[in-house]
Symmetry: C2
Subunit: 464 residues, 2 copies
């Protein structure tokens, strides 16, 4: 497949001052209607041009028969029309000097229609017009209020503004993960769903995100990278600047076959990819959960200086399981310094054993946590903090979650919380996460997230 090697400028696609929606419609069932509606309701501040050859006005906006009729600069054209009409419309975009296009329409290589796909790539190349897709959800930029998603907002919670950019070859994984990012409460910078990767691909996107100041963390769902060599080069470069968490679809033969039928990707050998990702310094997620959990940790944590973990808990058994998880994740339990031990012994009731994990026992309240954390967080023998707060107990309440959030702001060590439970716990969890304190459901999830922070810290320092 022919492909330009020039750097693609994705700025007009992500931060457009003007958008043409080709296939915009008054019919609420149409994808073009949903997209246009999102631009209007999402308070996009640039110009919006509906394009439809059959309508004079759409949703109270003047409609155009073709982009050629607009006679004003167009940064982004979103194309949502049947596949067979895409080449002609794309040709018009080129002539109208449209700066970038997103083709959401399906019906190309993913259903065997390779010829049609090659045709649109040739047009995009001819006009040097970066084209995302086809067969994709397009882009979202939370700060620019730019959003080409055609999924109903009633069913998909949108993340808040933040520093994580999410790149997904799959639209389904994309929309699910966006919804989960909103639930896990960390902020999003940009989302790019690039589908068949016919023109703009993962290499172009990583190049852009590497230099994007708003992007602090990148998370990716990848089925296959067509430009392996370039992917490796850009991967190594970006990891020196910001962390990349990756999940690969098609790591088994059956999965690879399914990926080929999905986005026409050649998923390639799993072991080869894993080795490549490790050399890139990427953080590898084995399951969707991990992608979220690792992304959440990178989004709100400083990098640790070493592998020694302190656990402070109000549940003994959960402390035991978390100790196991810390070791299984390749970390180790800190030994409290002599002074900390003395200070703790002085402040803690006799039912508390002064050791790590520090079991504050079931009647611990905000005061006991505060006393313990103010000592432990200053101990030089400790690199990372896991606070287990089981909100089923009488002493664990709003005051405690509030105090933990303050502690997170004060400490210069990575600090995460384990809280698991139903309604009351979920409320406390949502509160803490909204304040930038990441909360995990299970010991393994928490310990594995910290281990990834450490691996990345070592990569940055050149230790591994």
């Amino acid at each position: 497949m022919s492909k330009t090697k020039e750097r693609m400028n994705l700025a007009p696609m992500l931060k457009p001052k003007s958008v043409a929606i080709i296939g915009a419609s008054n019919n609420p069932e149409k994808v073009g209607h949903v997209i246009l509606n999102n631009y209007i309701e999402g308070s996009f501040e640039g110009k919006i041009y509906p394009v439809n050859k059959d309508s004079e006005t759409i949703m109270n906006l003047k409609a155009y028969k073709s982009v050629l009729d607009i006679k004003a600069p167009i940064d982004l054209a979103v194309i949502a029309i049947p596949a067979m009409f895409v080449p002609q419309v794309l040709e018009e975009c080129g002539k109208a000097k449209v700066k970038s296009v997103v083709v959401v329409s399906g019906g190309f290589a993913e259903v065997g229609n390779n010829e049609l796909q090659e045709k649109i790539v040739r047009i995009a190349n001819k006009y040097k017009m970066p084209m995302l897709g086809p067969n994709c959800l397009g882009v979202m930029d939370t700060r620019a209020k730019n959003d080409t998603m055609f999924l109903p907002t009633s069913k998909l919670s949108k993340p808040t503004i933040g520093g994580v950019s999410f790149v997904s070859q799959s639209g389904a994984v994309g929309s699910t993960v966006l919804d989960l990012i909103a639930k896990e409460g960390f902020g999003l910078s940009k989302f790019l769903s690039y589908g068949n990767a016919a023109h703009v691909d993962e290499v172009d996107i990583l190049e852009y995100l590497m230099n994007d100041k708003e992007t602090e963390v990148v998370i990716i769902y990848l089925e296959g990278a067509k430009r392996g060599r370039e992917f490796f080069e850009i991967g190594k470069k970006i990891s020196k600047i910001k962390p990349v968490v990756i999940i690969k679809g098609g790591t088994t033969q059956a999965g690879a076959d399914a990926a080929h039928s999905h986005t026409a990707s050649l998923a390639g050998s799993s072991a080869a990819y894993e080795a490549l990702f490790r050399q890139c310094g990427f953080c590898i997620a084995k399951d969707l959960d991990d992608l979220l959990y690792f992304g959440k940790a990178f989004a709100s944590e400083v990098l640790p200086k070493g592998n020694r973990v302190a656990i402070v808990t109000n549940g003994g058994g959960t402390g035991v399981l978390t100790t196991d998880a810390v070791y299984n994740a390749g970390l180790r339990m800190a030994q409290f310094g002599k002074e900390s031990q003395k200070a703790l012994r002085k402040l803690m009731p006799m039912t508390v054993n002064v050791r790590n994990p520090l079991d504050l026992v079931g009647d611990a309240d905000e005061k006991r946590y505060s006393d313990a954390l103010s000592i432990v967080s200053k101990d030089k023998n400790i690199d990372m903090l896991i606070v287990i707060a089981l909100f089923q107990t009488p002493g664990a309440n709003e005051e405690l979650s509030g105090r933990l959030v303050e502690f997170k702001k004060e400490t210069n060590k990575p600090m995460i919380v384990i809280s698991a439970g139903s309604k009351y716990t979920e409320e406390r969890k949502d509160f803490m996460e909204s304040q930038g304190l990441p909360v995990y459901d299970s010991p393994a999830a928490a310990a594995n997230a910290l281990a990834e922070l450490l691996k990345y810290a070592k990569y940055r320092k050149g230790v591994i």
Copy 2:
């Protein structure tokens, strides 16, 4: 430690007709108050006797200075008083022919007070009075409305009535998991938190649950089994009758040390325990999440006849990831039969590739799922079904979740759902789970749960 080897009759403890609450109090801060209040508000149908040497009436009930003053049969005495007073009160329980006791008080072997613990064991033995604890949350029996838990119900959602019995050495793990069982929406039969296991231990409890008709599945959090040989014997027996899911605290040296300081357990070698559990036919959970996920699968699924999985999805990428997860869990992807392929080709739109995973593509609605599932579920080449329903898409809605629930009722194959997302998805998930259709967040969680069903099916058939 001396210990009776006679079988303990736990029926009076779980299904008492009369309960004495020793340490009952009018002071809402006291544990004895919370317990008494739970009995009153939980509409327990038996007799309730508050015991407190300082009060005439407690919460409008006549109070007794000692169990000896009650002069009526007492099935269960719940003891919530300082440790040092427990021996005397226990002696009185023995004299009053109390049939069982739960000692929730802490301050025994877990803080090094071995002598006091041995003392109460001698009394329990002398009167052949099964004693649970000390240092525990006690018991819950959902059908008998018997509940000795002293945690605020506002912070701990109680599970509905069902077939899973949960045994936890740790109170903290116990209360968290109960809260999570309520959230995951599967029903509970009995809960036993047995703390220091000074008298009634895991062997006694498994013996009881093995013969308990209301218990269909057992899940256990264990730190250490004192009677290894008997535990192994009863484990092998119970697994021939009902599945047991186990999580072991202290599988690493550091975790084992923490466990010793928690419930005075000698956690023992991890590898030895794992081998023992496997020989018992137990399903081993490596993390708290697994305990819930596996328990949920056993609670609502029939056992599979083979390892061939079909995946039906409205998201291609999620189908790819789930295919990977199926293989990584040791299962394999079914090959649809010739007839199914023909029937599917006839009913599905051309955008649908007729293969496994069956990607119904993003615009799939209830009708397309129904058509696909009615064919796939009857195919003899398929042993288990994973339905991926991503509710972020327009076509996936209330009708779809309703139809999936109906399908679950009709099919004789294990069938589980993967749905991940925020508010709207959570609502659909809660609905499906309330109707006995288990829903998982992630591909790995779903595939691993099915793999455990198969392992257990093979164990029951004597294949492994």
